[in-house]
Every structure is written in C-alpha cells, then in structure tokens.
C-alpha cells in the first residue's frame, strides 16, 4: 500500500491536523469530474442533492394539501386538481425521496467505507443508477408539467389502465425507470457486503447500518421487479390495448393490487430498515455503550425483510380477497411487528445505564423511537381485520403510515445526515440550531399527524378535499402543525449549507465513535483509506474507546459541552 502518504494517520482522539490534504471533495473540480465520477462518495452527494429537490417538490404539494384542507369547503382546488395534488405528493415522496433516501445517500457513502473497501463493487453501475434515477424523475416531472396524474400513488386498475385522463403512461414509465436505479443500488450493496469486506471484518463485526442496508437491498432486488412488471402490464393495457386487468375481458383488477402491494408493502421496509440501521449507530455512540443484542438487531433486519414479503394482503382486506387470505395476512402482519419490537427493546436496553449525550443526531434517534413506536403500534390496529373495516381509507391510515414513513424514515434520515455530516463534509453543523430544529420537527410532526388519528377514527375519509365541518378543528391543527414541520425542515437546509463554509472543522472523529468510517480522515480520500484497514476488534467497543480517551486529553470541545 501507499506508505508515502503526506499526512500521518490522525489518532482517534480527535486531534485535528492542519495540513490541507487531498480528499474526495477537493481531489478534482469542475462539473465533469462530478457528472462522470465513479467515486461512491461523490455519487452519494449527487443523490443527496437530487433527492432534496424531489423532497421539496413533494413538500410543496403537501403544503397545497394542507392549505386546501383548512376549511371544509373547496377553496383552492377542484376535485380533479386535488386528486392530482395528493397523487403527486405521494409519488414524489415515496418513489423519489423515501425509497432512495438513506440507501442511495448515506448507504452509498458509508457502506464501502464501513466495510473497509475502496469503492462499491461496481462503481460504473452506481453512477448509472443515479442517471437512471434522474431520467425517471424527469419523465415523472414532465408528466406533472403536462397536466399531472390523478390515480393516487397506488395506480389501482381499472381506473389507471382504462378511465383516468391523466398522464398515467408517462408517470408509469418514470417510476419504472427509477425502479431500476433502486435495483442496481441494492445489487451493488449485496455484492459489496459479500465480497469486499476488509480483512478481519466478519459478518458479525459489520456495523448494524450495513446489516440494515443489506436487508433493504434484498427487498430492492426481490420486490422492485414485481412492481415494474405490474407497471408494464398497465402500460401494455393503456398503450397497446392488451387486457390483463380489464374486467370486460374477464380480467381481475384486484390482481394488480396484489402485484402492486407485493412490492409496495416491502417498500416500506426499504424505507425503514436503513433508518433502523442509522438509529442503531447513533444509539450506541451517544449512549457510549456497546449496542445491546447485536445479533438480535442484525437478524431482526433479515427477519423483517423476509416476513415483510408475506403481509401485502393487509392493504386489501376490503378489496374482496378471500376472508381466509385476510386472516393469514393479518396473522403475518402481527408477526412482522415482532422483529421491529425486538429492535426497539434493544435500543432501549442500550440506553439503559448509558451516559446519554443529547446531541442533534441522538435527538432525532430518540424521536424516531417514539414516533416509530406509535406508527408501529397503530399498524397493529390496521392489521386487525375487524378494526380495519372501520378505519380503512380514513385519515387513521394516513396518520399511521406518516408516523412510520416520516416519523420513522425521515427522522432517521435527518439524524443520519447530522451524524455523518462531519464525515461527509469535514465540517460541523451548528449544534444549537440542530437541536432546536430537531425539536421543532418532532413537535410539528406530532401536531400535524396526531389529530389525523382522531379525525380518521371518527370517520374522515382520505383523498377528499370537502369534508363535514365537524372535522375542521383536526384539520386546522394538522395544517398548523405542517407549517411548524415545514419550518423545522427548512432550518437544517439553511445551516447545513452555511456549515459548508463556516462550520467548525470536524477532524476525523468528532463523536469519538466506533467504526471504520471514523478512522479515516474527514472528508475521506478518494479511495477512502490511505492504508489497508484491518479489523481486529468487535464493533461498538465504546467502553474501550472511552477508557483510552480518558487517559488522553480531548482537544475537541464539542463533546465536552454536550455531556449532560
């Protein structure tokens, strides 16, 4: 290996080297060096920028929904326009933000570093996946500009295949294309984890973030092609007049729902599993303890990925599927909650008797646990056959899945962005603002979505923009909360930008965290390490790290002030 490296290895105690060294950001400048890069870290940044754009588009449409719903009458939109607004919100958030969010940004950046590799197994395919994502996004945006689509993000037939006047084809093509970016990312992760681990890095020494992304990759590889063929069948039906779901020919529209949810339920785990991985890392670091039940957390990720494929019918309890099928799907849905609960118990046990540091990432992680708990437990209401008949297609469902997807995935995503921001950019974000906005997001989120549980339970249906006046109070609360939530999301956007120039220099390991990614410099060099990393210890060895660093004097003040 390269032994004539200009800078000596910086020790893990957080001493910052002043030498300006070559890293993946300053290795090369110019637009071409970014658009043709094969460096997984640069591709992660490209993804980060593009998913942020889609998040803002999806967020703008959420704002429109909340604006319309302030009063019981139709104020801003016609029914058709409102259908298009909530459809666009769903499509943008699900396919273009949530699914790629953690895997394509943090996963892309961290998985190779965490396994001690120079890059993912297939860097060119990795770049291709970003281009595919962008092209798919452009198709969908084109459909949006031309007039949008009104089928809901679920594209139920026969409305989508026959009757809808929206740009179903164009949107479908966009989502189909984007699906391949997710397949390619998953494929790259699977091969990288199997074949590229550093010497000494056995499977049970892998960070739990890697386990979680591995499990999510399995779903991306096994599930995405199924929804892809479903979209192809709709396209063939709409475009070429083939009739696979057409009831006129004897076709079964519910078959589409089966195919759609076979992917789209596990897709929830594509969103949440990597988030759970992030939380495991943060939880161990800021409790300064070895993660409790490492193997349980690792295997529960795989358990969720596998059982998650057996529960899709819980979206179809009232679609006319056999009631015996309903019972089985209900049972499996209860079972899939078990591995999720195992994780929550293990995180709680990790914190027990830990020296908890309330840093921004930790606040997001704690928020994740609380909100995911509510989202998960209300999921059991939805999974109960009898209760679901009452709450199906009401705001109760809307609140439930937002607690999982936003309260879960987005909180974890933001926590992860803050946790690894120093590693990605070499700069610290402003801690005070970080904590403030984490709190704002938590409060705003609950204010937005908790009233929806009540409104839904009392019978307010989803996807309507005109509603009985007795629900107005809940909707006003919800819209007010959305404003707070929106501000909570804007603040990090501003200060993270600001920190790129003015943030304090981070040093290799500002959190005194365990893991290979903290052993290299911040930001890492193009090939991640200046030496071949070798792993000779167990993961999450926080007691060792703290014992070692209490002997030396930490020069980095950020942690000191955080010890509460």
């Amino acid at each position: 290996m390269d032994t004539t490296s200009t800078v000596e290895r910086v020790s893990a105690t957080g001493i910052i080297s002043d030498t300006i060294r070559t890293n993946f950001l300053n290795a090369d400048y110019g637009i071409k060096s970014w658009l043709l890069t094969k460096d997984h870290k640069r591709i992660a940044i490209l993804y980060l920028i593009s998913i942020t754009v889609f998040f803002m588009i999806g967020g703008a449409f959420a704002a429109m929904i909340r604006m319309e719903l302030i009063t019981p009458e139709a104020d801003v939109f016609t029914s058709e326009a409102y259908n298009k607004v909530f459809t666009t919100h769903g499509i943008m958030m699900v396919f273009f933000f949530l699914i790629p969010s953690i895997p394509a940004t943090l996963g892309n950046f961290l998985v190779p570093v965490m396994v001690g590799a120079r890059d993912l197994a297939f860097p060119r395919i990795n770049l291709l996946s970003w281009y595919i994502y962008v092209i798919g996004g452009l198709f969908t945006l084109t459909a949006l500009v031309l007039g949008g689509v009104d089928t809901g993000w679920t594209f139920y037939t026969p409305y989508s295949s026959t009757y809808s006047n929206g740009y179903v084809m164009l949107t479908g093509i966009g989502i189909f294309i984007t699906g391949f970016s997710s397949i390619l990312t998953g494929l790259n992760f699977i091969v990288t984890v199997h074949k590229m681990r550093a010497p000494g890095l056995g499977w049970f020494r892998l960070p739990l973030f890697v386990w979680a992304n591995y499990a999510a990759s399995l779903i991306m590889v096994l599930g995405t092609p199924v929804v892809a063929i479903g979209i192809v069948m709709i396209a063939l039906e709409r475009g070429l007049g083939l009739g696979i779901f057409d009831p006129r020919l004897g076709g079964d529209p519910v078959l589409f729902q089966h195919i759609f949810w076979f992917y789209s339920h596990p897709a929830v785990y594509i969103m949440i599993l990597p988030g759970m991985g992030v939380v495991s890392e943060i939880m161990a670091c800021f409790s300064r303890r070895h993660i409790f039940g490492y193997k349980f957390i690792a295997f529960s990720s795989l358990g969720i990925a596998i059982i998650g494929f057996l529960v899709w019918g819980h979206h179809m309890f009232v679609s006319g599927q056999s009631s015996y099928a309903g019972i089985v799907f209900s049972l499996f849905t209860f079972i899939v909650a078990v591995p999720s609960a195992i994780k929550v118990f293990n995180w709680t046990a990790t914190m027990h008797k830990g020296r908890i540091v309330y840093s921004t990432p930790m606040m997001y992680a704690l928020g994740f646990i609380g909100l995911f708990l509510v989202g998960g437990l209300t999921g059991l209401f939805c999974a109960s056959l009898g209760v679901d008949i009452h709450i199906h297609d009401t705001y109760f469902i809307v609140a439930h899945f937002h607690y999982v997807m936003v309260g879960g995935s987005v909180m974890a995503y933001l926590g992860g962005i803050h946790f690894w921001w120093p590693k990605m950019t070499g700069r610290m974000y402003p801690e005070g603002w970080g904590r403030f906005s984490a709190l704002l997001v938590f409060v705003g989120f609950n204010l937005t979505f908790f009233p929806q549980f009540i409104a839904g339970y009392l019978g307010m249906p989803r996807r309507y923009h005109v509603y009985p006046p007795e629900f107005q109070i809940y909707n006003v609360l919800s819209s007010g909360g959305a404003l707070v939530l929106g501000i909570g999301f804007m603040i990090p956007l501003i200060y993270l930008f600001w920190s790129l120039k003015y943030g304090e220099k981070a040093g290799p390991n500002p959190w005194r965290a365990a893991g290979l990614e903290w052993e290299t410099t911040s930001p890492p060099p193009t090939f991640n390490f200046d030496y071949q990393p070798v792993v000779d210890h167990e993961p999450y060895n926080y007691s060792e790290i703290d014992a070692r660093s209490s002997a030396t004097v930490s020069t980095h003040s950020v942690q000191e002030e955080q010890h509460v």
């Binding site: 120079r118 860097p123 790259n188 590889v221 070429l240």
Partner: protein
C-alpha cells in the same frame, strides 16, 4: 493508488483478479434473481387466469403453431450451446473460436427473433391481437372461448418481454464481439464472456418455460 498488484485488467476497487471475478459473478446471479421476479409477475397472472379460464386458454393455445414454436426452441437451445462453447473458447484463450462462437450465437438469436416476428405478423392477420379488432371463435372441438383475449394478451406480454431480453442479449453479444476481435480476452481475463453467457442462458431458460405454458397446454 498505484498498487503493484494492480494490473490494468483489475479495476481499482478490487484487490485482485479473483475478487473481481467473484464479485461480477455474484452480481450477475443477483441480477438474474431480479429477472426471475420480473417474469414471475407475468407467470403469476398466467397461472391465475389459466386456472380461471381453462377452457378459453386451451382453445386459444391450439391456434399457436406448435412446430414453429418447437423450431424456435431448438434454435435457442443451439444458441445456448454455441454460447457455452464460446465461454469455453474464452477460457482456453482461443480468440478465433471465441469470435466464431459469438457470431454463431448472434445468428441463432437473430433467427429466433425473425421467427417470432413472423408469428406476430400472422396473429395480426388473423385478428388475434387484443384490442378492438380482436375476434376469435375458437377452434374445432373448442368453440366456447369467451376469455381468449386474455390468453393472447398474456401471450404478447410474455413473449414480448422475452423478445426484449433477447434484443438486449444481442446487444451484449455485439459488445463482446467487438472486444474479442480487439483481443481483450485471454486465459486470465474472460469474465465478461462468462457473465454475458449466464445472461444468455437465463433468457434461454425463460423460453423453455414459456414454450410449454403457451404452446403445449392442450396437445394430448
């Protein structure tokens, strides 16, 4: 990072040729699992409707020319043989044979697509393409076939998606051909030939399932 162990045929992210080869192979197998799930959606639809509309499916299946399908199956099997021989030639470092076998594979692949195009054209002539012009009144002995249009929808969807995979395969073969004429492959570096071969065999195997599902369901 200039590592002595790195020669130009090993990409920078890999330690050695063996790791590179293993990664590529695992990658291709993972991709093929994706492909199985992709075709799986169509086969699921097929299973459900065949079970539901057995009569119509039997009648409609009889319209397909079993011998043309049989011929095409043989063509594809031979192309798999030439592909396998091509991989063997690459492993032995025999450039001339490699080029020859790739060309043979491409010819057989193209022949398959040609026959498929002929079959499609015939369906258009006989109004067997789903849509407003479709009409099908059964075959002797199987006059009652109210749901035959679904069969033909699936026929076109399944064979169409398969044909698309064949076209991609031909693209890969063209790429391999160019590289092997340039002499890129040798005894030490033949991995791309191997993994393209995997893909080709997979597409072949899909047809081995499609042929009986579509052509042979009522031929006692």
């Amino acid at each position: 990072m200039s590592d002595a162990a790195h020669n130009s045929l090993v990409a920078h992210q890999f330690d050695d040729a063996r790791q590179q080869q293993e990664a590529a192979t695992v990658g291709m197998w993972t991709f093929l699992i994706t492909e199985i799930m992709f075709f799986g959606g169509l086969i699921l639809a097929y299973m459900i409707y065949r079970n539901q509309f057995a009569e119509s499916f039997h009648a409609a299946s009889r319209v397909l020319d079993v011998w043309v399908g049989c011929f095409n199956t043989c063509v594809l099997l031979v192309s798999s043989l030439t592909m396998a021989l091509g991989v063997r030639a690459a492993q032995m470092g025999d450039r001339k044979k490699l080029v020859l076998f790739i060309i043979a594979t491409m010819i057989f692949g193209a022949a398959f697509l040609g026959v498929k195009a002929y079959e499609y054209a015939e369906k258009f002539e006989h109004h067997l393409v789903p849509g407003p012009t479709f009409h099908f009144h059964g075959v002797p002995g199987h006059e009652h076939a109210p749901n035959a249009e679904i069969f033909f929808s699936l026929y076109f969807a399944m064979t169409g998606v398969h044909a698309l995979h064949m076209i991609v395969g031909l693209g890969l073969m063209t790429w391999l051909l160019r590289k092997s004429i340039k002499g890129t492959f040798s005894k030490d570096y033949y991995n791309p030939v191997e993994i393209c071969g995997l893909y080709w065999h997979f597409v072949d195997i899909v047809w081995i399932f499609l042929y009986p599902l579509l052509y042979l369901i009522d031929r006692s």
